[in-house]
């Protein structure tokens, strides 16, 4: 069964909607810079410049929630705008998040440790599931609401889950994607892993040192054929392949040869009934950590039999937005197909010695882009691949 994409929405440090994100991508303009908040100011991050109150008023958000929930509402609202509710259609929402409402909890927790009186009511916003319920409330979806939490592959897995529920006939239409805000918790967490780059991250570069964190959200609307007949929406692209596989190698590191990545890419290609050479562009996971980029590069060489298609990591623009990255990058994949663009990988100067692979260095225009493969890999070796195709 075909899975049609009829809506998309994105907020990231490079823009608060699809148009602004596209414009930054085309102008090769990163938004990674020294952070604005007390806990981000020591690092280069891809931070959304609007405060929570500014987000609420700029996007007319009626539902309260954590920053994770608010960012999610902005992107989900954009994806679902001009969509109506139909009694004949079962519409659901699946969101991926890793931090949930931690941005609120960590503040209350710190207050209590410092001897101040905490407001326990605020912990209501903590559970990841609650962030999705709040997003669903904001766009008027009831019934099926789910949250996936598989670290950095969460949004990709939420998209996959939505497609499978449509395929099985349990849902007709589903809003899918992911959201994560920057928190002290994740910043200190990644710092403890010592995989930060103090300068701009350099995905797939021989001298890459590590990642820059980011925040944001990205959502799509998926519909079945039956749903399309009722909604009459214009189709932006198709979701033609998906897969998730487990590296089963280490709690955080990827296996040296990218075993899980190879499995997930191969299975997604098989499901899309595509040969490796039919992929026109790969939006890589490409976090710019020494471990990920080498392992993912080796997996590319394996899956594409040495003939690796043009590839890049757009995390050099947005930073690594963790659970949101699969959602944001899915929007970028669709933009690539719609506009015939291949987005460059910023800050690249020399290829990784072991592989010699060179990513896209400058924006490529007027390219016939039919199939885009997008990778998202999470902690615990959770590897996911999505394939988007031209309609």
């Amino acid at each position: 069964m075909e899975i049609f994409i009829t809506g998309y929405g994105v907020i990231s440090s490079i823009g608060t909607n699809v148009e602004e994100n596209l414009s930054s991508l085309m102008q090769e303009r990163t938004a990674i810079k020294q952070g604005l908040n007390s806990y981000t100011s020591k690092f280069k991050v891809g931070e959304v410049a609007l405060s929570n109150d500014a987000l609420k008023s700029a996007f007319d958000l009626k539902t309260d929630g954590s920053r994770t929930a608010l960012l999610g509402m902005v992107a989900a609202k954009e994806a679902f705008k001009n969509h109506s509710h139909f009694n004949a259609l079962r519409t659901g929402l699946i969101s991926g998040t890793s931090v949930g409402g931690m941005d609120i909890s960590e503040v209350e927790y710190r207050k209590e440790m410092a001897g101040e009186k905490p407001n326990y009511k605020k912990y209501f916003h903590h559970p990841s599931g609650t962030t999705s319920e709040q997003i669903a409330t904001e766009i008027g979806i009831t019934g099926f609401v789910n949250t996936i939490s598989t670290a950095c592959s969460s949004a990709a897995n939420a998209i996959m889950m939505g497609a499978r529920l449509i395929q099985s006939g349990q849902l007709d239409r589903v809003v899918v994607g992911g959201t994560d805000c920057l928190t002290q918790f994740t910043i200190y967490g990644f710092r403890s892993l010592m995989i930060f780059d103090d300068e701009w991250c350099k995905p797939f570069d021989n001298s890459r040192k590590g990642l820059n964190l980011g925040e944001g959200a990205g959502f799509l609307v998926l519909e079945s054929k039956k749903s399309l007949e009722i909604t009459g929406k214009e189709v932006l692209a198709k979701l033609s392949g998906w897969s998730n596989a487990s590296d089963a190698y280490h709690q955080t590191a990827s296996s040296p040869d990218g075993d899980g990545a190879i499995l997930s890419m191969k299975q997604a290609l098989k499901q899309a009934r595509l040969e490796p050479h039919e992929i026109n562009y790969v939006n890589a996971h490409g976090t710019a950590t020494p471990n990920n980029d080498l392992s993912e590069s080796k997996a590319f060489i394996n899956v594409f039999n040495g003939k690796v298609p043009p590839f890049s990591s757009t995390k050099s623009y947005t930073g690594h937005t963790l659970a949101a990255s699969g959602g944001i990058e899915s929007v970028f994949a669709i933009l690539s197909i719609q506009n015939g663009l291949l987005f460059p990988n910023l800050n690249h100067t020399s290829p990784i010695e072991e592989t010699g692979l060179i990513p896209i260095i400058n924006i490529q225009k007027n390219i016939e882009v039919t199939h885009v493969l997008s990778n998202s890999f999470g902690f615990g070796g959770n590897n996911s691949t999505l394939i988007f195709s031209k309609i």
């Binding site: 890793s98 529920l165 200190y188 710092r191 280490h250 999470g378 615990g380």
Partner: protein, 307 residues
Amino acid sequence: MYYIHKIASITHQDSFNQTDVNDSLVEIAEDTVLISPDYKKYVLPASLRRLSPILRMAVAAAKECQEAITIPVEAISVGTALGCLTDTEKFLNVINTVEGEILSPTAFIQSTHNTIAGLISLELKNHSYNMTHTQNNLSLEMALIDSMLCCDEGKEFVLLGVADEAIDFLNKLKPIVLPENSIVTSGTTFFALSKKKSTAEIGFLACNSIIKPKGVEVEIVLFLRELKIEINEIDRVYTNQNSLDFPKEIVVNYEAYSGLYFTANAFGVHMAHDWLIKTAKKYALIVNSGCNNSLGLILLKNDKAQN
């Protein structure tokens, strides 16, 4: 039908590897504790030291289920409402107390929800589909719906499980975020599921999860109508609800035995499963109603029922 080939629960009851968990049930009280098996049988002692209670119990229950079937599972689907709270709180303490640049990453690494399913894949050396669902009190339902999809997509055996752990901090959230009289507990339940029957008798027939239901009774009627089952065909109801429109004598409050954790309805499923085997009755309904206006419905069926 999605047959239950093995079921394993670690809870505040003596439930692990019992023939019938209902035999030794005691009502949960403030002083009851998690009854743990000897984890050294499941995890190497060197690794065990680093693992929080939720990870220990989930890995042990998962391994029991994998060992009970002969072939490796082809998917792992885990539900958790609040995830790895011990390590989350530990890391919150670390970032607010440790001075300087060097922080230990262990608590952070093990704080993410998917540490549970990820660790299981590592321990089982299993490269298949690996998913973590977290939807408050509907986390079991979500992981179950995914497991059913996996079975329908042709995967022979699926490892389905839930886990949630209590930390003292949760008691501070009563009565504002959590119900005042609740006893917060820990628990895990894992299942080996397959569409193949072989020696299994009980299976999941259907599952529905609803945010903002039209009403508990209305949704139960709709759920059963879709399955062409009459309300009076239900032999037993396991629920965390006080007032359900069923004869009192067939309603069991599972929370009185599980305590409060948001995936405790899985222990309700375990109780229902063992009861159906013992009595050879046909249907047990698990009604899970959350404080956040949500409802989960799960129907178990016994193929061997005499009626």
